[in-house]
């Protein structure tokens, strides 16, 4: 990373990307933080798509590479839950800029009652499989996704195994595994 050149973090000033995003999306940005030389941005669920679009298309920032899309189940972390209005999940986007070499983490809190985020496949085609994995593991749906179905687990699998309330040894899938049907 080359934060010293682009983002003047060492002098105590806020990184350029934070300034830019803040002036563009006042209410859409919930939190900005920098820890261990890593920049994190928490965005409102409804404006995360616009923020990602801005980060990608802005000529100076140019976060043109989507490294990963994943999610975190915060249901057992009280401090995070209270901070973001008891949103159980966070969808996490990791961005990288080929132009500046900077990395950025964008997070969006998602409530259990409206468990969906707008897909970013229109910005990065490679997001399709990553979002499918998030859907497979957490049950978070992505609006307007071209092909949202399970990617790792079998199609008829029930439940979302990376949720914290999912038992590690499963809910009896191993015992009730219908081998003959699967093999047909």
């Amino acid at each position: 990373m080359s934060e010293e050149e682009n983002d003047t973090t060492s002098s105590g000033k806020s990184p350029v990307v934070f300034e830019r995003v803040k002036e563009q999306f006042q209410d859409g940005v919930l939190d900005l933080s920098e820890e261990f030389d890593e920049l994190s941005l928490v965005a409102h669920r409804d404006s995360v798509y616009e923020i990602l679009e801005f980060l990608k298309n802005d000529a100076k920032l140019s976060y043109d590479f989507l490294v990963d899309v994943t999610a975190v189940d915060y249901s057992q972390m009280e401090d995070v839950l209270t901070k973001y209005d008891y949103a159980r999940f966070m969808v996490v986007y990791h961005l990288y800029s080929y132009k500046t070499g900077d990395r950025l983490r964008v997070k969006a809190p998602v409530h259990e009652k409206e468990l969906s985020v707008r897909t970013v496949t229109s910005l990065w085609k490679g997001a399709a499989w990553l979002e499918r994995e998030v859907y497979d593991m957490f049950g978070i749906t992505f609006e307007n996704h071209p092909n949202l179905r399970r990617i790792l687990m079998p199609d008829d699998f029930e439940g979302y195994p990376l949720c914290k309330d999912y038992p590690l040894r499963g809910r009896g899938e191993r015992e009730t595994f219908d081998f003959e049907r699967q093999n047909a």
Binding site: L152, M153, P154, P161, Y166, P167, L168, R169, G170, R171, E173, R174, F177, F179, Q182, N183
Partner: protein
Amino acid sequence: MGLENRSDDNIITTTVDKVINWGRKNSLWPMPFGTACCAIEMMATLASKYDLSRFGAEAIRFSPRQSDLLIVSGRISLKMMPVLKKIYDQMPEPKWVISMGACASCGGVFDTYTLIQGVDQFLPVDMYIPGCPPRPEDLIDAVMQIQRQIDSGELPKGTLSDANSASVTG
């Protein structure tokens, strides 16, 4: 046998089954089913240092129809198990199965919702290899034990019935 007394020293008599088993044991054609780090050890076993061809088992077949020894090396998930069973079913009899390593034999450390806790729930395993992963010597030992089984005329565990494969018996 009486016949040998009347012939030269360079003629022996035996049974057809003994000859067939002798050929079988010295030309096992393994079907590798490598899904994890055990497969790396399996590759090392086949490479020049450990050289499984010393035991006649170097002709690795990636088609189950041409092989008679299935080596399950690695963890098998619920989604993968039907694939493995289909491959096993496609192998012509007589066929042997080696369950290589802790994951294939009992799930290993992966006591989780998605992993088969031992492929012997679905396949007739002839030889288990402990280890995580086992050393190449362990795999060689398993192959040699299978060879000993074949030589003694023992049937593989997966044999449907004695009548179906009478030629295997010694």
